[in-house]
C-alpha cells in the first residue's frame, strides 16, 4: 500500500495547494507586516553609523554569530544552544521542503535529490532527535533546576515564554516525525541507522490501520506547517525575536571597546541640543533598540553583574526586557504608537537606583553571546539624569571638586607634585611647556592626592629611575583624567578636563604616556578625541623586564600564595591580561594561583575614579568583600592588582572581612618596587 501525500488530498473539499498557498501567503504576510512594524520603529530612532569596518564585522558575524564562540562560556547551556542553533539551520531546509510538498508531491529543494538528498534526509533525522532531546532537557532544566538567571524580577508575563517556544519547537519535531514515521511504517526507505527519527516514530505506529496511518501522515504534515508559521510569527512578538535579530546584532556590534558613545552621533554641538541623553525611550539609537529586540533573556549578564551580586538594584538583563516590553507596548503591531502618559521611561521603567548602581565594569557586555551593549545606555541615561540635576549626593562633592580644582580630592593644584618631595634619592622632573622626555608619567589625581595611592606613585618613580628611563610629570598642568566623569554622564566636564590634558600633552614632547591607573589609561587611549600613545605601567614594566633594563630579586613574597585580580579597565576593557602576569612571573618566589573569576570573568571591586565616593544603600555585601572571599577560596595570602582603586577597595575589604594580617593587597608596581635588584 502507499499513503496519499498532502498535496494530493483536498482538505474539506479545497485542493491542498490552495490551502498551502493560503497558509503560506497568510503566514508570510503577517510575518512581514510585524517585521515592518518592528523595523519601522528602528528607522524612527536616533542614528548610529554601524557600517564601518565591514571586514571586522563579517569576521565577528562568522566567529560569534555562526560560530557561537561565546556560548560555551556557560558550558552546558552553551552546548545545548549550539546544538539548537545548528539544528535550526539544518532544519530550515527541511521546513522549506515541507512547505513545497503542500503544492507538489515529492517536492525537493534543488540539489537535495539523489544521494545528497538522502544524506540530508539522514542528517535531518538525527537533528530532529537531537533538537527534540535538547528541548526536553531545556524544559527539565527550567522546571526542575530553575537557574536563577532565568528569573524576571520586575517584569510580569514572561514566565511561560520559554516553555511556549520550546513546546512549539518540540511540536515541529514531533509532527515531522509523525509525517515521516507514518510513511516509514508503510515503506521503510532505509534502515533505522540512517533514518532514526522516522524509525523511532514508526515503532509507535506500527500497529495502526491504514486509515489511521493516513490521518497521522496528513495530520502530522499540516500541523507541522501550522506550527512552523505559528513559530515564525511568534518570534517577533516574543523574546525569541533573537532568532531573527541576533545575527544582525552581532554584525552591528560595537567595535571600539573601552570608549563611550558621543552624546549624539553626528552632532558636535550637543550642548545646544534640546535634550541630552536618554530620558524617553525615543532618545535611544536604533542599535540600542535592536539590542532590546535581541535579548534572549538568558541572564548571563545579570549572573555576572557585580552590582547585582552585591544586592544593588541592577540587572542588565531586566533593563533590556523592561525596555523591550515598553517598546512592544508603546509601539504595538496594530494601531498607532501609544502615548507614554505619566510613565517616565527613566525614573519609572528604569529606575535611578538601577542607573547609578552600575560600575561600568563591562562584565555584562563581555558575557553577552550576541554583544548587547549596556554601558553606553547606562551612560546615556545618566547624562539625562545629570542634565536634570540628579546625581547621587555622595558623588556631587567630588564632581564639584573636579570642576573647581581639577581633582576629586579637593587638593590644591599647586600640591599635585608634592609627593615627589618624599623621594630623596630621585629627582622627578616636572615637564614645563616645550620640555621633552621619553615617558610622560601621568600620575592622575589619585596618585597625586590619595596618601595610599601616593605610595604607588613613588614606587613607580623609583622603578622608572632604576631602569634609567627618561621620564617626567606634568605637575600643576595635569588634570583629572576623566574616565568616571564621562561614565557618570557629565560630558561637559569630561570635555573640559580632557581638553586641559590634551593641551598639556601637546605642549610637551614625549614618546609615550605611561600611567599605573587603568582608568586613566583607558580614557586617554579610548575616549580622548586626540590620540596619544599610552602605556599602562604593567606594559612598560614587561618591556623593561624583557629588555633586561629591570631585574627583580629579593624575597618579598617569602613563598606566600599569590592571586592576581584583573582590573576591569585593564582586562575587559582593554584586553590586557598577559602583561601583568608576565611581570608577576618574573617576581622571585611567585606562586600564582588564579581565582575562578579571573581574566575576562574578573569580578569588579566596586569601581574606580569618582565611584570610590559612591556607596549604594542596598548592598548586602560589598563587592570588594566578595572579591576577598574569592581570593580566600584559593587560599591566597597576597592579592596583587594593577589598579590603585582596586587596591583601595580590596585593602578596605580585607579589613572588613577580618582578614587583616592574613591577606596582603599590593599593587603590581609596589610589588616590583619591593623586588628591585
Amino acid at each position: 500500500m502507499t499513503l496519499l501525500e498532502p498535496a494530493d488530498l483536498p482538505l474539506a473539499g479545497i485542493p491542498a495547494p490552495t490551502v498551502a498557498a493560503v497558509i503560506l501567503i497568510g503566514g508570510v504576510s503577517f510575518f512581514c507586516y510585524v517585521m515592518y512594524r518592528r523595523i519601522d520603529l528602528l528607522r524612527k530612532l536616533l542614528p548610529d553609523f554601524r557600517f564601518d569596518d565591514i571586514g571586522t564585522r563579517v569576521r565577528m558575524l562568522v566567529i560569534y554569530g555562526f560560530g557561537q564562540l561565546r556560548q560555551p562560556r556557560y558550558l552546558g547551556a552553551g552546548i545545548l544552544h549550539i546544538l539548537l542553533f545548528a539544528g535550526f539551520i539544518l532544519l530550515s531546509l527541511r521546513s522549506l521542503t515541507l512547505i513545497g510538498r503542500g503544492f507538489s508531491t515529492g517536492f525537493h529543494l534543488p540539489g537535495l535529490t539523489g544521494t545528497p538528498g538522502f544524506v540530508y534526509e539522514s542528517l535531518k533525522d538525527y537533528t530532529v532527535l537531537i533538537v527534540l532531546a535538547v528541548c526536553i532537557i531545556c524544559m527539565i532544566r527550567r522546571a526542575v533546576f530553575k537557574p536563577a538567571r532565568y528569573d524576571h524580577p520586575g517584569a510580569a508575563g514572561h514566565e511561560n515564554e520559554a516553555y511556549v517556544i520550546l513546546g512549539l519547537v518540540s511540536a515541529l519535531m514531533i509532527t515531522d516525525m509523525l509525517y515521516d514515521g507514518s510513511a516509514y511504517v508503510v515503506h521503510p526507505e532505509a534502515s533505522a541507522a540512517y533514518l532514526p527519527a522516522a524509525a523511532l516514530a514508526s515503532a509507535f505506529m506500527s500497529g495502526a490501520n491504514p486509515a489511521l496511518l493516513e490521518r497521522l501522515h496528513i495530520g502530522g504534515y499540516w500541523l507541522h506547517i501550522l506550527v512552523f508559521f505559528g513559530l515564525l510569527n511568534y518570534l517577533p512578538i516574543s523574546k525569541h525575536f533573537h532568532v531573527i535579530t541576533a545575527l544582525p546584532n552581532v554584525f552591528f556590534a560595537k567595535l571600539h571597546k573601552g570608549a563611550i558613545k558621543p552624546v549624539r552621533y553626528g552632532v558636535d554641538d550637543w550642548m545646544s541640543m534640546e535634550e541630552c541623553g536618554v530620558g524617553r525611550f525615543e532618545a535611544f539609537t536604533w542599535k540600542n533598540v535592536l539590542d532590546f529586540y535581541s535579548c534572549a533573556d538568558c541572564g548571563r549578564c545579570t549572573d555576572n553583574c557585580p552590582a547585582n551580586a552585591a544586592g544593588r538594584k541592577l540587572s542588565p538583563k531586566m533593563i533590556s526586557i523592561k525596555a523591550r516590553d515598553y517598546a512592544y507596548e508603546h509601539y504595538p503591531i496594530f494601531g498607532p504608537a501609544a502615548s507614554p502618559g505619566d510613565t517616565k521611561f527613566v525614573g519609572d521603567v528604569i529606575t535611578e537606583e538601577e542607573i547609578w548602581s552600575c560600575t561600568t565594569c563591562g562584565a555584562c557586555e563581555q558575557e553577552c553571546p550576541i554583544f548587547i551593549e549596556y554601558i553606553d545606555k547606562i551612560v546615556d541615561m545618566r547624562r539625562y539624569l545629570l542634565d536634570r540635576g540628579s546625581l547621587p549626593q555622595s558623588l556631587q562633592k567630588p564632581m564639584q571638586q573636579v570642576k573647581k580644582k581639577g581633582n576629586a580630592y579637593g587638593g590644591n593644584k599647586a600640591k599635585r607634585a608634592a609627593w615627589a618631595k618624599d623621594l630623596e634619592e630621585i629627582e622627578v622632573r616636572e615637564l614645563k611647556k616645550g620640555d621633552s622626555a621619553d615617558y610622560l608619567f601621568f600620575v592622575d589625581s589619585c596618585g597625586s592626592f590619595d596618601p595610599r595611592i601616593q605610595e604607588i606613585t613613588k614606587a613607580f618613580a623609583r622603578i622608572l629611575s632604576k631602569a634609567s628611563c627618561d621620564f617626567g610629570i606634568l605637575g600643576q598642568d595635569e588634570t583629572e583624567s576623566g574616565n568616571e566623569i564621562r561614565r557618570l554622564g557629565e560630558e561637559g566636564l569630561f570635555e573640559q578636563v580632557a581638553q586641559k590634558n590634551i593641551d598639556a600633552f601637546q605642549e610637551r614632547q614625549f614618546r609615550e604616556i605611561v600611567t599605573f591607573d587603568p582608568h586613566a589609561f583607558n580614557v586617554i587611549k579610548n575616549d580622548y578625541p586626540v590620540k596619544f600613545p599610552v602605556l599602562h605601567a604593567s606594559q612598560l614594566m614587561a618591556q623593561l623586564l624583557k629588555s633586561g633594563r629591570l631585574q627583580l630579586s629579593g624575597d618579598y613574597l617569602q613563598g606566600r600564595v599569590v592571586t592576581y585580580h584583573d582590573p576591569c579597565y585593564l582586562g575587559r576593557h582593554n584586553d590586557m591580561y598577559e602583561d601583568p602576569r608576565f611581570v608577576l612571573g618574573r617576581v622571585p618566589g611567585m606562586r600564582l594561583r588564579e581565582m575562578t573569576r579571573s581574566f575576562s570573568r574578573s569580578f569588579c571591586c566596586s569601581g574606580g575614579g569618582l565611584l570610590l565616593w559612591y556607596e549604594s544603600e542596598e548592598e548586602k555585601e560589598r563587592m570588594g568583600e566578595k572579591r576577598v572571599r574569592m581570593a580566600q577560596e584559593v587560599q591566597a595570602e597576597v592579592i596583587v592588582t594593577a589598579c590603585p582603586f582596586c587596591l583601595i577597595n580590596l585593602e578596605d575589604a580585607v579589613k572588613t572581612t577580618g582578614n587583616e594580617g592574613k591577606i596582603e593587597v599590593i599593587d603590581l608596581v609596589e610589588l616590583v618596587d619591593r623586588s628591585l635588584t
Partner: protein
Amino acid sequence: MNIFVLAEHRNKQLRDTTWEALSAGKKIAADLGSDVTCLVLADAVDEMADKLAKECPKVIAVEDARFATFNSEAFMKALVPILKDRGPFILLMGNSNAIIDLAPGLSVVLDAALATDCFGLEVQDGKPLAVRQVYSYKVNTTVSFKDSERIVITLRAGSFPYALADSESGAVEKIASPLGDEPLKKRFLNYLEAEKGDVDIASADIIVSLGRGIGDEPDMEVFESLADTMGGVLACSRPIVDKSILPKYHQVGTSGIEVKPKVYLALGISGAFQHVGGIKGSPLIVAINKDARAPIFRVAQYGIVGDIYEVVPALEEKIKALKS
C-alpha cells in the same frame, strides 16, 4: 558698664548654657570692675530666679506665658525696652540653637555690636575682646568692638566651665512683662523628637565615634559612659552599622552622615577613605587605635596608639577629674 547674662531655659529648666554665660560674665565683670545681672524671662519665673540669685548678685525676672518657650520674637520685644534704659552693657548668652534665632536681631535693634560663638573673652585697655573661630573653625581670631558701650556676645558651649557655688543671695527684681497685646508673628507649635533616631550626629558638637577596632562584641557601656561624660553623642563607621551594633543614623562618612563636630574622638577607626570623607570638617580629630599605621592618624591632630579598652576608661576618669 553692666554685664547682663540672659538665662536660657527649656521645659521649665535652666539650661547649662546659663551657668556658662554667668561664669564668663563674672570673669569679665571682674576685669572691667562691673556688676553682673542675670535676666530671666519665663512663664513661671520664681523658681528660676531664686536659683539664679544663689549664684548672681542681681536678677531681673519677667514673667509672661509667652516666654514658656524660647521664641526669639517675644524675647527680642521684651529685652529691648529692658536693656535700652540701663546704660552701657555687655549682654552674654550661650550660643545655643535657640539663641542663634535671637542674638543677631537683638543686636540690630539695640544698636549693639555682636560677636557670636566666642570661646574666650579678654579685656585689654579696659575694652572687651572676644576670641572666636573662623574659616571652617580652623583659625582663631580675636575681635574688638568699635562701640564698646553696647555689646552682645554669645558663647560656645563648654568653653566657660561653671561650678555652682550657692554663695550669693542676690536681689531679685521682678518687673512687669513689657510685651503688648499684639499677636506674635512667630509662634511655637510643639517639640518634635528627631524622626531618624535618638541622636542627630550631624549637629553634635562632640562625637565619640566607634570603628571596627572596638571588636566584634564590644562593651558598649564603656563608650556610652565616655560619651556621656564628654557631653557628646556616639557615632560610628560603617562596619559597626553592618554588624548592627548601632543603627544606620549613627554612621559617619560619605555614605552615612557628614559631620562637623568641634571634637571628633575616633576609637578603633582605621580611617577608611569613605569615613574620613565625612569628618574632614571637624577642627579637632583625636584618634585612639592599636594600629600605629592606621590612616586615621594622618587626619587626626592627636593620637594614642594603644588598647581602646585600657585607654578609654582611663580617659573617662581623667575627664571626670578635670570637670569637678
